[in-house]
C-alpha cells in the first residue's frame, strides 16, 4: 500500500505528511513547555524570595553547553541539503554533539548534587531540575530519532530520507529554542 504525499508535497497544503506531522508535534510541545514556563512565572512572582540562578548555577558550563547544542541544530540543519549518504554522516555528527551536551549536563547535575542542591531544596531548583530534565529527555529522544533515521537511510531511499532529515532538523531547532529559553530564564536572570 502507498500512502499518498509521504514524500511529495500536496498541492493545496504545500507540504508532505511528515513535515506537517512534525509541525503539529512541535505545536503540541510548545504547549507542554509553555505550561511549564507559565508555572515558572506564576511561582516565581508569587514567591517571597526567589534565588538568583546566576549565583546558584554554573554559568560557564551552561554557556558551553548552549554552544554545543547550537552545533547540533546547525549540523542537522545542514544535513537537510545533502544526499542520503551524506545526511547520514551529518546526523551521526549531530548525535555525537548531542551526546556531548548530555555528558556536560550530567556533569553539571553531579556538581549540583554534591553541593547539596536538590529538587526539594527550593522551588527554583525544583523548576530547574524539572525543566532541564524534560529537555534532556527531548535530547535523548532526538538522538534516538537520529539513529533510527540513520539506520533506515539505505532502506527507505533518497526521497524518504530527505523528508526525515528535514523533520529532524525542525525538531532540533525546537529543542534548541527551548534550551535557549531555559538558559535565559535560569542561568542569566
Amino acid at each position: 500500500m502507498i500512502i499518498p504525499y509521504t514524500t511529495d508535497r500536496r498541492a493545496d497544503t504545500g507540504v508532505t505528511n511528515v513535515t506537517m506531522g512534525m509541525w503539529l508535534f512541535i505545536a503540541s510541545e510548545v504547549m507542554l513547555f509553555g505550561a511549564l514556563f507559565s508555572a515558572y512565572a506564576l511561582l516565581s512572582v508569587s514567591a517571597i524570595d526567589w534565588p538568583s540562578g546566576r549565583q546558584t548555577l554554573s554559568l560557564p558550563l551552561g554557556a558551553v553547553n548552549t554552544i554545543v547544542l547550537i552545533q547540533v541544530t546547525a549540523i542537522a540543519w545542514h544535513a537537510r541539503r545533502s544526499t542520503a549518504i551524506k545526511a547520514r554522516r551529518w546526523l551521526m555528527t549531530a548525535s555525537a554533539f548531542a551526546l556531548a551536551f548530555l555528558g556536560l549536563k550530567s556533569l553539571e547535575y553531579v556538581h549540583e548534587f554534591s553541593a547539596g542542591l536538590r529538587p526539594a531544596t527550593n522551588t527554583f531548583l525544583a523548576m530547574y531540575f524539572t525543566l532541564t530534565g524534560l529537555h534532556a529527555l527531548h535530547v535523548i529522544a532526538g538522538i534516538a530519532a537520529n539513529v533510527w533515521a540513520i539506520a533506515g537511510a539505505a532502506r527507505v531511499g533518497e526521497a524518504m530520507m530527505a523528508g526525515r532529515t528535514r523533520a529532524l532538523a525542525l525538531y532540533w531547532v525546537f529543542v534548541d529554542i527551548v534550551w535557549l529559553i531555559i538558559f535565559g530564564l535560569m542561568y542569566l536572570l
Binding site: G21, L24, S28, L32, A39, A120, N122
Partner: protein, 560 residues
Amino acid sequence: MRIFSTDHKVIGLQYALTSLAFLLLGFLMILMIRWHLAWPTQAMPLIGALLGESRTSGGVLLPEFYLQLGAMHGTIMVFLAVVPLAVGAFGNYLVPLMIGAPDMAFPRLNALSYWLYFVAGLVMLAGFFLPGGAAASGWTSYPPLAVIATMGQTAWLVGMFVLVLSSMLNSINMIVTILQLRAPGMTLMRMPFFIWAMLVTSFLLLLAFPPLQAAAVLQLMDRLAGTSFFMPSGLVVSGQIAKSTGGGSPILWQHLFWFLGHPEVYVLILPALGIVAEVIANITRKPIWGYRAMVGAALFMGSMSFLVWAHHMFLTGMGPTMSGFFQITTMIISIPSVIIVTALVLSLSGGSIRFTVPGLFALGFLPMFGLGGLTGLPLGLAVTDIPLHDTYYVVGHFHYIVAPGTLFALFAGIYYWFPKVTGRKMNDLLGRLHFWGSLIGMNGIFLPMFIQGLAGMNRRLYDGGRTYEAFAGFDGSFRGQAWSAVFLGVVQLFFIVNLFWSLKKGARVGNNPWDATTLEWVATSPPAAHNFEGTPTVHRGPYDYSLPGAARDFTPQSER
C-alpha cells in the same frame, strides 16, 4: 487479524473493544456507588463479600474505597472510555473511509498510540492492587490532597502521562490524514460534518492535553522528589506540618488541569455532534440545515474553548476581574453549541423521518444534550455557580451532556456503522429496547440530581449526607436512582447480546444499507484491506439527499 496490525480498521476496532470494556467497568463502579448511597449501612449483595477486607467491612464499602471508586469512575469514563471510543474508535475507523484514503497518514504511529492507550489504562487500573488502593482524590486530582495521597495516585499520574502521549500521536495522525489524504475532489467544504468535528477535536487534544502532561510531571515531582510546586507553606497534614519546602500553589494545578479540562468537554461533545449530524441527514433524507454555519460554529467553539477554563474555579476566589472575564467567555461559547443543535433540530423539519435505531439514539441525543447544556448556564455565572458547584446539580449537568448526550450519539454511531464494519445489521427489536430502556434509566438517575443539588446536597459525600439534618428525606430519591442504575445495567445487556449475536447471526446487508451518501458506503462491507478499489473521486457535497430530478432519494458523493 493480527494483534499488532497497522491497519486503521483493526486499530479502530481495538480502540472500540477496549474502550467499551472500560465503559462497562466504569459503569459497574458507579453501580456500586449508587447502591451504597441508597443503602449505606447494608451489606452489598453478591459483590460486597468478594471485594475483600481492605475495601469493605461486613460487605459495606469503606470510605477509602468509596473515594477510589468515585475518582476512578470519572477518570475511566472520561479518559479511558468515552474519548477513546469517540476519537480512537470512530475516528480511526471512519476518517480514512469518509475522506477516501487508503489508511491513516502514519499507520505505525497509529498502532503505537493504541498500545500506549492500552498500557496507560492498565497502569491506572493497577492502582487498585497497590497498597492503599487506586487514586482517590477525585478525577481532577486536586493537590495538596493528591500529593499526600497513597501510591495509587502515582499510578494515576504515570498513566496520565502515557495517555497524553497516546492522544498526541493520535491527534497528529488524525489532522495530517484529514488535511493531506483527502481523495481528489474532497474539498474542505465537501467533508462530512463528522470529519470537521474530528479535525477540531484533534486540534483540541493536540494543544490542550500537554499542559495536563506538564502538570502531571510537576505533581509527580511533588510526590516523588519532595518538591513543592503545588504544596503551600505551613500545610498541616494529620496534625503535623507537612515536610515540604512550601511556597507552591494548589491553584496552579487547577489552572493547568482545567486548561485541558474544558477543551476536553468539547472533545467529548464534538464527535458526538458529528455522528448525530451524519445520522440525522440520513434519517431525514434531506441535506443538513446550515452545514456552513455548523462548520463555522465548530471552529469557533474549538478556538473559544481555550479561553473558558477558569469557570470551573469560581469557588477558588480568584477575584471578580478573573471571574468577570471567564463569565463573559463562557456565555459566548454557549452560542456555537446552540447554533449546531439548532441547525440539527431545524434539519428535522420537513423531513420524512425514518425512525431507525441509530435515528432514535440521534433524536434522543438532541433534547438530552439540550437539557445538559441549558442547566450549564447557571454554572457559567459565578453568582449562581458558587452555591451550586459542590452539589449534585453539577453532577447532573455534566452527566446529561456526557451520558444521554455523548453516549447516545456513540450508540447511534455503533448501530449506524455496524453494517459497514461487519456486513451485517444489528437486531432492530433489541436495539429499540436498548434505546427506550436507556432513556428511562438515565433520566431516572440524573433528573433527581438537579433537585438534590438545588436543595444543597453536596456531592462526594460517603454516606449520602445522612449525618446532616438538612439532607434528611433524600433516601427515597437515592433508592430511585439506585434502581434506575440497576435497570440501566440490565438494559445494556440487550446491547451486549445484540453486539455479539449480530456479529454471527445478524441479517446480511449490502454495501449501503441505509441509502447513505458519504464515501464510506462506497467501500465494501466490511471494507477491503486498503478500503477502496482505486482512489475514489468526489463530485459533490456530503448530504445530497432527495435532489430534485435525481432517480433515487440519495446521490453518493462519488457520483457525478
